[in-house]
Symmetry: C2
Subunit: 536 residues, 2 copies
């Protein structure tokens, strides 16, 4: 885990200072240039950018106004070495400010931003593997500070390495859950005769305090090794504030400001929207334009997708979408169905909403922990990723629902997901079906490394057998020796089966143990068998 100090803030008291200071920032850390200027007009209208160069590399980033006559330029160095910069601005005080810093090797725990690896995987920029095991905390940075802290605390203990959070406030039915801080400057707040509040915003002026809090939460997540999948727009405004129907130029101004602020944080992902199809009056073409705007503005190429309502699929063929982020449960009904999505899309697929574990009366918010675990495992075994969420409401406690409000985890699936993460990270590759569309139970993680997912069924024994196909890996051969582990996903135990199994030649598309031996199984559901070839 990294220290907050890794995020180095460089206070330049004058241009001359840079001649003497050797500023160091980790590769993929955040260099920050702080400049002062008292703008005469709207300080958010002052144009500011900086060009960072390292040898032939040149990256232009925007700066932004952070209140109190302060302008910031943030930059994430993608390679080590000396980086020089020069600013450009419409304000003389901010123009032609130059200097340099040295990007030093990353500290332990800093693997850089996550990127796509091959057709269906992810990796960190340093090449180490990343498999998303995410959860959902829509209002992570929007609630009372103590709730925000509690959420961060719960995430730290959870095993999740990604969470989905909204940038813009979300309307809630209860006053307890009303956001207290907003992204724009409030012009007026009035209450009409029916008691309904009316907000009028100055969309030309951001509220730096709102965004400083967001910065802080993203950096906290970064410290914990958790990717921040930022939901840029959503329909959960319900006429409260109008953030779901801002003019297009304000949408872009908001995106530019946000990207300038948090784009230099390596753990940021862009989710163009949650339930884009429920945002009224915005066409598919407008979503595409906004997506292209984000991709063109972000100098780092952070991961980017868009998420719709149940079983609503956007055109994920757009090159700006690095991966597929969907809301749909049908693909996790079986590993086979999940595998079909993997086959269709030449990009990683994340079922970012399959419904949630919880006890709410809504049908998407009342899965048992077992069902949630089952669905997550189905997706993983099919070669896609599945995001967790929790919707418990306990009348005896404060009225928090983790999926949205944050606070503490109460359910039973998150521990199993953390357990699955540990198991799958031991494998040589993320799982995928070994014999797609034919064998609905066997997944492969590579040469001589399989899982057999028995799911909800209870069976007293399993006859050793493997498919002759093995995705694109080397096929199993006659005379190979395998060991089997019984992984009880619910009990979170791993039991090694005594003895070694030796394969026959393929018989009608499958290989068996040459003595046709069975594995005795406990009479419980949610068993995952792990079958690994014994080294010669």
């Amino acid at each position: 885990m990294k220290k907050l100090t890794l995020l180095l803030t460089v206070l330049l008291l004058g241009a001359a200072t840079s001649l003497f200071a050797r500023t160091e920032v980790e590769r993929w850390g955040c260099f920050e240039l702080r400049l002062n200027h008292a703008a005469k007009a709207n300080p958010f209208d002052v144009a500011l950018s900086a060009t960072f160069t390292n040898g032939d590399r040149k990256i232009v980033v925007r700066g932004f106004y952070d209140g109190d006559d302060t302008y910031l330029v943030r930059f994430m160095p993608p390679v080590e070495g000396e980086w020089r910069y020069t600013t450009r601005s419409s304000a003389a005080a901010l123009n032609r400010r130059s200097g340099s810093f040295v990007a030093v090797p990353p500290a332990a725990g800093n693997h850089g931003p996550v990127e796509v690896d091959g057709d269906h995987g992810f990796r960190y920029a340093d090449g180490s593997r990343y498999m998303p095991f995410g959860t959902t905390n829509y209002a992570l940075a929007l609630f009372r500070p103590e709730t925000q802290e509690a959420t961060i605390h719960s995430l730290a203990a959870s095993g999740f390495n990604k969470t989905r959070l909204c940038v813009l406030p979300k309307d809630y039915p209860t006053p307890l859950e009303a956001p207290t801080i907003f992204p724009f400057e409030l012009r007026s707040r009035t209450v009409d005769a029916e008691g309904k509040e009316h907000f009028e915003w100055d969309f030309e002026r951001f509220n730096p305090a709102f965004f400083r809090n967001l910065d802080h939460r993203i950096r906290q997540l970064q410290e914990l090794g958790i990717e921040a999948d930022l939901i840029l727009f959503h329909p959960y405004d319900r006429g409260m504030w109008g953030f779901d129907k801002m003019p297009e130029e304000i949408n872009r101004r908001y995106l530019d400001y946000l990207i300038a602020r948090v784009g230099a944080y390596r753990n940021v992902w862009w989710s163009m929207a949650n339930e884009w199809d429920l945002v009224r009056n915005r066409t598919v073409e407008e979503w595409k334009d906004l997506t292209r705007h984000v991709a063109a503005t972000d100098p780092y190429g952070h991961l980017c997708s868009i998420h719709g309502g149940t079983a609503v699929y956007f055109d994920y063929g757009m090159p700006e979408f690095t991966h597929v982020s969907i809301q749909d449960e049908a693909p996790v009904f079986t590993a086979s169905a999940a595998a079909t999505l993997r086959q269709i899309f030449p990009k990683p697929v994340i079922c970012d909403e399959i419904g949630y574990e919880g006890n709410l009366p809504l049908r998407w918010a009342r899965y048992s922990p077992q069902l949630m675990t089952y669905y997550v495992t189905n997706g993983l075994m099919g070669g896609i990723y599945v995001t967790h969420g929790e919707c418990y409401r306990d009348p005896s406690e404060e009225d928090f629902v983790y999926w949205s409000d944050g606070s503490i985890l109460r359910g039973g699936s998150w521990q199993r997901i953390a357990f699955l993460r540990r198991i799958l990270e031991e494998g040589p590759n993320p799982p995928r079906m070994a014999d797609v569309s034919r064998d609905t139970k066997t997944s492969t993680a590579g040469d001589g490394y399989y899982y057999v997912w028995l799911g909800q069924s209870i069976q007293s024994s399993w006859r050793f057998n493997l498919p002759a196909s093995n995705a694109r890996y080397r096929r199993p051969q006659e005379g190979e020796r395998y060991r089997v582990d019984i992984i009880d996903v619910w009990a979170m135990t791993v039991t090694e089966v005594p003895g070694v199994f030796e394969t026959t030649k393929p018989i009608d598309y499958r290989l068996y143990d040459k003595h046709h031996r069975d594995v005795r199984l406990p009479d419980v559901p949610y068993l995952l068998l792990r079958i690994r070839r014994v080294a010669e």
Copy 2:
């Protein structure tokens, strides 16, 4: 059914003749202009086209050489009225030939070419609905004439309204099945020391007799109301003739010739390939180029797709692909899985290969008739289409496998598919899931028109219930009255359930009968309930 005479051949004995004859051709019929010219060099190299005009409409089509010093220009008039034409050619004898004909109203049974209707349906050009219920006869036009006739005869009695056939010969393991006629002029045929045959083709010269036979079979299918889904390339050459690895310019020359010949037949669809991924040495980009070539060359915009190996999905987002044609069984394991494909693709989806009913030792060719029927119904209920195929080989009979060789239907699913076609054509719209990704059994065909597919399970009764959601149709309301039919898909019977059911208001996302009545069911699988609102 149409008469062969509808396909009018106009013999122009001289240019002057056209001044006196009033030639009539049905709208969407085929006008044919026949011209004579003895070419000095390769007659296939003579450029010939014709411009057809009707008011502001102008369509340019290519002509082609049909052997015996004869050149043909075929044209399908898309609207009624007088069409005038003028030819252009590099040969003076074929140049500036002009004339006219009158496109008259189509006869009964001529509905025009099939086109896409909305996001997921098909219709004929005259607006009448088309739902594909297809089968597979790869070598329909490639075998001995008596086998070809037998296949046509079996199709006439089958109820299928589409079949998939290869244009280019397919290699078979047995001599009985060796093609006897080829698309190119044979230069030499030699047998080497190991007894292997070697063919050398003149790829610059087509074999008109081969293509005349193809014309004839397509027209026969047209007479039967059967769409001809022409497979333009395939990998089933296995080094026999080299048709799978012709130079790109020969591929295009072949496509141009074929489109000029059969493009004017209204029942033609283009399938760029079967199992495109198994054709060696052709890249995805080359397939895309060939597809764009077909779309740019075909003046009528016939339906076009491409078909891969098991669970291999092309980039169906290409605008040239009118629909998705795939080989995959996982999408028909359940109606829900099928529905996911419908949700993903904003185009009609046809599972053109889910494996086949039959008795071959290969796992994709040994489905029981029940399993085939089950899969087909799953797909249909999920809102996609599924293609039949039959792979029986009876050692006591001649060695024909219907899926490939043709001849006669022997299995048990084709009759059920014909029955399902009749049932579904009675509905106001093709089925789709009523409450996608949530209710895995109920499909809707519109306002007050549902199916509940019980699939392989046997249950003694069904409690009347409907989902509160109804796709994009009007939702069911409290106090509506419904009748229920029990459709036994396997027995091919329809039994009306006595009495009328009256809906409650929605209770936890579903409506029930206000008296909570059940429907007694026979103890058999493959039951499809049809639930229709009673008119007020």
